[in-house]
Symmetry: C2
Subunit: 283 residues, 2 copies
């Protein structure tokens, strides 16, 4: 596995691979890898000749007062996990090399990114689509793989690729969960034991939505109320949002008889967790 | 010469050229080609194996009330001129194929694009950097050539490439002028005979700046006053702006003892013309 730490070296390596006719698969991460990330590497490997994984805790997608400083980092651990997973190129740039002091260009998405996480984190997706654009231009992937746990993010990224015509195919990988159902996240390590236990309420709320949908319930307000109840049972949990939206437009819906995204964000002290499920009308 | 009219076909052709190891040179234009554009084709040819020229009157870089509807168009003429100039691929997409109805992603530059033309045309550079990003992703150039007549634009594009890490080298070509000194522009055709004559005041104002600079004058306000006078002599001319700014930051300067950009925009009824010169301290 090759380790690259400067943007220019990454771009030169990617250009050489392209010229050699090799398909590049790309998995962008903020590091502190878990099974979720590694499952994306497997998908990338399946669709490409070379797999590039980036490790970059992107400061511009964190708002003031968010957990940029507390975001877990362990390069040595990530290096070993990447190598074992069969990553070919590990791209781990420094922040100063990624952003000039007088950087003045950004990419913005002004529709899908407004609600859900975008409502609580108003500059988050600007940071995400900007850094993803930069990483695409540096790693030159034919295919890039993102996790479905970040439901809004993958929809925003698909829109980015469509609207700016990036020559990149976007593939999503299913959310990987702990045995008890908690969605894997690098942030889980910041939970206290009591918070870790109560964090199951996210999955439980989604279970409720799925059970109601299967039983024929289509009223979004009633489904939402049941989810709110499931989270409210846990004293350490604070609801950031619980939303039921159209799976394509991300607009709130009154009824769940078209494909519907059920998404929630819950805070445990300073740790904010997200999870989601898609309800299909036939289910 | 191959003519391509759909974005996807353009991208596939560009990918095939890249995989074949050919260097792509790119000249983006809004059509109604003149010697200025053709000089950029020559530069592109010098730096690449294949030259792609795009013809696209990009609606998003025109503000309300600007001359989008009056912008001159003549595909057949452009086709012949491109072929004669040795263009390999002419990319002429339809607006509907370039912008989805629900397009929601844009690229923004928030420093260099604020003053000069950006002050009179507040959404112009957002449109420019967005469409240039799209065209880069569709034509996949190794090198792209822009004219120095659009002085602010080329500086904004260089910033775009730096900040989003596009794998593209930007080269500029000098302004090409009519025998009497008027900078070539597709818009010149919209001038009445009287306006065409008076349009020489742009070049005359720049001449005054250069003469003053050579004579040792370094006071920007005095240079500017002389330029204003040259334009004000012409009754059909309305000054949009005359500015003396740092060549790198585009911030207004009080003295011209570092490389300085002198730029102006002048309106003749609905036709807005621009021109510029760079003053070097040694001259």
């Amino acid at each position: 596995m090759k380790i690259i730490s400067t943007p220019l070296e990454m771009q030169h390596a990617a250009l050489a691979m392209k010229r050699g006719g090799r398909r590049i698969g790309f998995v962008p991460t903020m590091g502190f890898l878990h099974e979720g990330h590694l499952s994306l590497v497997k998908i990338a490997r399946h669709h490409a000749d070379v797999v590039v994984l980036s490790l970059f805790v992107n400061p511009t997608q964190f708002g003031p007062g968010e957990d940029l400083g507390r975001y877990p980092r362990d390069f040595e651990r990530d290096r070993k996990l990447s190598e074992a997973a069969g990553v070919d190129v590990l791209f781990a740039p420094e922040t100063a090399a990624m952003y000039a002091k007088d950087a003045s260009v950004a990419v913005v998405e002004e529709n899908l990114s407004r609600g859900l996480c975008g409502a609580s984190r108003p500059t988050h997706f600007r940071g995400v689509v900007t850094v993803v654009s930069k990483l695409f231009n540096l790693c030159l992937p034919d295919v890039a793989v993102f996790g479905e746990k970040d439901a809004q993010q993958i929809r925003v990224i698909r829109r980015l690729v469509r609207d700016l015509n990036f020559p990149v195919e976007i593939i999503s990988g299913p959310t990987i969960r702990e045995p008890d159902g908690l969605a894997m996240s690098s942030r889980n390590v910041n939970l206290s034991p009591a918070e870790r236990k109560q964090a199951l309420c996210l999955r439980r709320a989604l279970d409720r939505a799925e059970v109601l949908q299967r039983s024929g319930e289509r009223d979004a307000a009633r489904i939402r109320a049941s989810m709110v109840e499931a989270v409210a049972m846990e004293p350490l949990a604070t609801i950031d949002y619980i939303e039921i939206v159209d799976d394509e437009t991300l607009e709130p819906v009154a009824r769940t008889d078209r494909p519907t995204l059920v998404a929630l964000a819950v805070k445990f002290s300073k740790t904010r967790l997200i999870d989601n499920a898609v309800l299909k009308p036939g289910t």
